[in-house]
């Protein structure tokens, strides 16, 4: 009896699948839900950044770059196409200036030309 029941497991599953709605998400026509903690595009808060460069030191993909002239005068660059979205910078920053949002990131054909200027201290002072 048990054997016969087992024999029909697959048939059952197939019939069930036929009756139920299909599971495909028709992205991009239907919304795709990303959880709260998803590691997506990086958001940056220039006011909190102190220019310590810890995030740059720990970034495994060399996606962050800092040009430092002095303590106050520096630019912090981010290359989204190089970034591995690993979350290390968020972890390393002691001031909470850098973090992940749950937004998806676009794509590019020129990896190195896509630069975001996170902070240009000269520009912000002027």
């Amino acid at each position: 009896m048990d054997k016969i029941k087992k024999r029909f497991t697959l048939l059952n599953a197939v019939v069930e699948a036929m009756i139920k709605q299909p599971e495909t998400i028709k992205y991009p026509f239907a919304a795709m839900e990303l959880p709260e903690g998803f590691r997506g595009a990086i958001v940056f808060d220039p006011d909190k950044c102190s220019g310590c460069g810890l995030c740059v030191r720990d970034c495994p993909a060399e996606a962050l770059h800092i040009n430092k002239k002095s303590r106050e005068e520096y630019t912090l660059l981010h290359y989204p196409a190089r970034c591995a979205y690993c979350g290390q910078c968020e972890d390393s920053c002691r001031h909470g200036a850098i973090s992940h949002s749950n937004k998806l990131v676009g794509a590019t054909t020129h990896k190195d030309d896509w630069v975001l200027v996170f902070k240009d201290s000269k520009a912000s002072q002027e």
């Binding site: 054997k3 599953a13 903690g37 720990d58 495994p60 979350g87």
Partner: protein, 360 residues
């Protein structure tokens, strides 16, 4: 009939990752085969020597796309052993939880691939759908489907609250019934049994001679499981049921893996229930004192071996990774004889290829 050689790979519908095989056949009989590796060699061990310990976590995570977490876990335990720090018990449990989830999704993925190779596409679709539930859990708790980035040296990145634990438990219960169904199918579907029973059996002696580990070894009756044998925390406090089978053929390999999925599901529930409270991370210094260490753990495909040597700087002096697939691959040419052409996919699937792991 004459002997002809058919190339399988580097690109072939059978393979998801590049691997090159020349298989000599005569009619429908396979006479033998040879293997070429190295198509996805990325020099990760060398790269790891040029990066800091912190950066290496994310490099190591990219050795494999399926068992990424167990790689970083083993690496982190190795670094922590050199540093002489012990991570909080809660962090250990979270690491183990992720490892078990990973084992579940890896085995489900594998079962789907086997089913696809023997023409049972429905099982392929259904298991991969079920696997998606596991990936959803992992995405929810860690923020990434494949690269979880869950580990940091000294602990884990995130904590689980009650709500998430409850969510995971609900999904696991659903998965439980699905896996029962899969077990029913592999035990009763006549064509699937005919395709796998008695195909390419491996004797325990051969397993030992080639140093094969993991589910393949257990399917041949060799009782090794690093979760129990290496007793890495927190597995020393958990009861791990090791599944073995004596047949050693393709069917036994299927059976062992599906049963293991069930064991892992139970283990996940135990881990969530017994998870101790407390911190999830302790502070770890950046410089690692001189020394060397070996850590072994159980990846979904078998024993994972990490050797780490430090010269006192913030970069490792040598990192050696030994992945389970390499040994299994060396056994492949031996298996590729005295079988049918139609059995090649079954044999290949039985190895549970992870070329990216093997080549690094």
């Amino acid at each position: 009939m004459d002997k002809i050689s058919i190339p399988i790979g580097p690109q072939h519908p059978l393979l998801k990752e590049p691997l090159s095989m020349m298989v000599d056949i005569s009619g429908e009989k396979v006479l033998g085969g040879s293997l070429r590796l190295g198509y996805v060699h990325r020099g990760i061990e060398r790269l790891a020597q040029q990066r800091t310990y912190v950066q290496n976590i994310h490099l190591i995570e990219r050795i494999c796309g399926i068992c990424s977490h167990v790689h970083t876990t083993t690496y982190c335990y190795a670094v922590e052993a050199l540093l002489g720090i012990e991570i909080p018990p809660r962090a250990q449990y979270i690491r183990a939880l992720m490892c078990e989830l990973e084992r579940i999704h890896s085995h489900l993925l594998w079962l789907g691939i086997l089913a696809k190779h023997i023409g049972l596409d429905t099982i392929f679709m259904h298991t991969w759908h079920d696997r998606e539930m596991v990936l959803d859990i992992m995405e929810e708790v860690s923020g990434g489907r494949i690269s979880h980035a869950a580990n940091q040296i000294g602990g884990v990145r995130f904590d689980l609250d009650e709500e998430k634990g409850e969510m995971i438990r609900k999904i696991l219960i659903k998965l439980h019934s699905q896996v029962e169904g899969l077990l029913d199918v592999i035990e009763s579907e006549p064509a699937a049994i005919a395709r796998t029973k008695g195909v390419a059996p491996i004797s325990p002696d051969l397993i030992k001679a080639y140093g094969v580990v993991g589910p393949i070894a257990r399917a041949s009756g060799v009782d090794v499981d690093m979760r129990r044998d290496a007793s890495l925390p927190p597995y020393d406090q958990l009861e791990v049921k090791v599944i073995t089978h004596s047949d050693g053929d393709a069917w036994a390999r299927t059976f062992v893996r599906v049963e293991e999925t069930r064991v892992s599901l139970n283990l996940c529930e135990t881990i969530i229930r017994e998870m101790p409270r407390g911190d999830v991370v302790v502070h770890a210094p950046r410089r690692v004192p001189e020394g060397e260490v070996i850590i072994r753990s159980e990846a979904p495909r078998g024993e994972l071996f990490y050797y780490l040597r430090s010269d006192g700087s913030d970069k490792p002096a040598r990192l050696k990774v030994r992945t389970p697939t390499l040994a299994a691959l060396s056994l492949l040419p031996v298996q590729l004889s005295e079988i049918n052409v139609a059995d090649i996919p079954v044999v290949l699937a039985g190895v549970d290829l992870c070329i990216a792991c093997a080549d690094r």
